[in-house]
Symmetry: C2
Subunit: 220 residues, 2 copies
DNA sequence: ACGACCGTCAATGTATACATTAGAGAGATG
DNA sequence: CATCTCTCTAATGTATACATTGACGGTCGT
């Protein structure tokens, strides 16, 4: 009962976490032997993990034989949002059309409550991020009949989490983000696709601006 | 000079082609030993190829240890278009904003000419598909600064080609498709994002309808 | 001193051997 | 006759050995 999953899966999860959490910094070379030793497995599962990271875009190839942790800068964020805009908008539209209204209604109220909490207690960040996670899960559930879109969204989210760690939201931004998320959830709960799309656009616009402000500030 | 690429790459390309072209039918089991023997390499590169096919969505897992060529039916097509709609629309918008106008202007005229040709010479199918390929390449070129969107599009196109082989366009449809494509190209060449998006929507709507008609006809 | 060229070797790419397990099929049982 | 279990095998998952190549450091030339 020690290894419920395969070694390749564990290697992948470990590396992926290390990259997303910044433990393996962008630009770090990924060597099979080194990681195999670190993770306590042979090169074979590590190799498989590297292939998946490459397909995720978490690693990139430089030259024919060297793999690096992929870089992520302000320009990547903009490029990421070019895709996110398309996917989130469509996801919101579909969720409003065919999603289960109940979870979104519940999330809307909980997000509103979180807005109040965040105003007073700044330790509620974790709760808010957990709520966003639930929101994403609710979106995924609504996309049961759109597996391709759902898969694209899930691939995207890994990168977005990386960005989130890079550009830590300030409290004021978090407050507005919660309100924006609540607006999206409510529009979906009301089965109003147009409003859901509009609210999503608003959220993405603000989120991108906030991130860019942050990155510009930390670069300068 | 016999192997310019790695064995894993060749195995992947071969399997991918076989799946897209229908030589490996949906539902066919993919066994490492069998494919290794067929392709004349060891299991290792085949294994790597399988991993990539899985991440492409060209193969799917049934149970913990069996891989099948992924199925594709009318419902998959609808799901595929849920994603395609989002991506193509955004791509058209961005191409109209920042793309090189010249290639699109050239493509527009060539597509119009193809429309005339298709009306008389039905052997011009190949030419038309080649033009669409060039159009896609021009879109990709316009997305140089949006690599995430471009990557998502490229992943999607493999599946679309599979659909195209599944539901062969009839001549009438091809004619309209060429005209619709020309309209998109012209809108992009004119740097008119809104029109490009509208033309894209029109094209996708018609394409989806045509495919569904075809599939319903062949199923019945 | 700076750049191009080249040999070394360490890391990758591939094959194979070993360990493990899922899945097909025989047999038993209701 | 269907279903369930159990076995057994053949395939996968992993490790390792072998082959191959390109990244790095040194040398040479200018």
């Amino acid at each position: 009962m020690s290894t419920p999953t395969t070694a390749a899966d564990r290697a992948y999860s470990a590396l992926r976490s290390d990259i997303v959490e910044g433990m393996l910094a962008p630009g770090t070379p990924l060597a099979e032997v080194e990681q195999a030793a670190r993770l306590g497995v042979s090169r074979t599962p590590v190799r498989e993990a590297f292939a998946r990271l490459l397909s995720d875009g978490l690693a990139e190839q430089r030259g024919p034989r060297t793999l690096l942790v992929s870089s992520i800068d302000a320009d990547d964020v903009r490029a990421l949002f070019d895709l996110r805009w398309a996917l989130d908008e469509q996801a919101a539209r579909i969720a409003a059309h065919r999603g289960d209204t109940l979870p979104f209604a519940a999330l809307a109220t909980r997000l509103d409550r979180a807005t109040e909490l965040l105003a007073t207690d700044d330790a509620a960040r974790t709760d808010y991020y957990a709520l966003v996670g639930e929101f994403d899960a609710a979106i995924d559930a609504s996309l049961e009949t759109s597996p391709y879109l759902r898969a694209a969204l899930q691939r995207l989210r890994v990168h977005l989490e990386r960005v989130r760690r890079l550009a830590h939201d300030d409290d004021a931004r978090l407050l507005r983000a919660a309100a924006e998320h609540a607006a999206i959830a409510r529009a979906i709960a009301d089965r109003d696709p147009e409003r859901a799309v509009a609210a999503t656009r608003l959220h993405l616009h603000d989120a991108l601006q906030s991130i860019h402000r942050h990155l510009k500030a930390s670069t300068a």
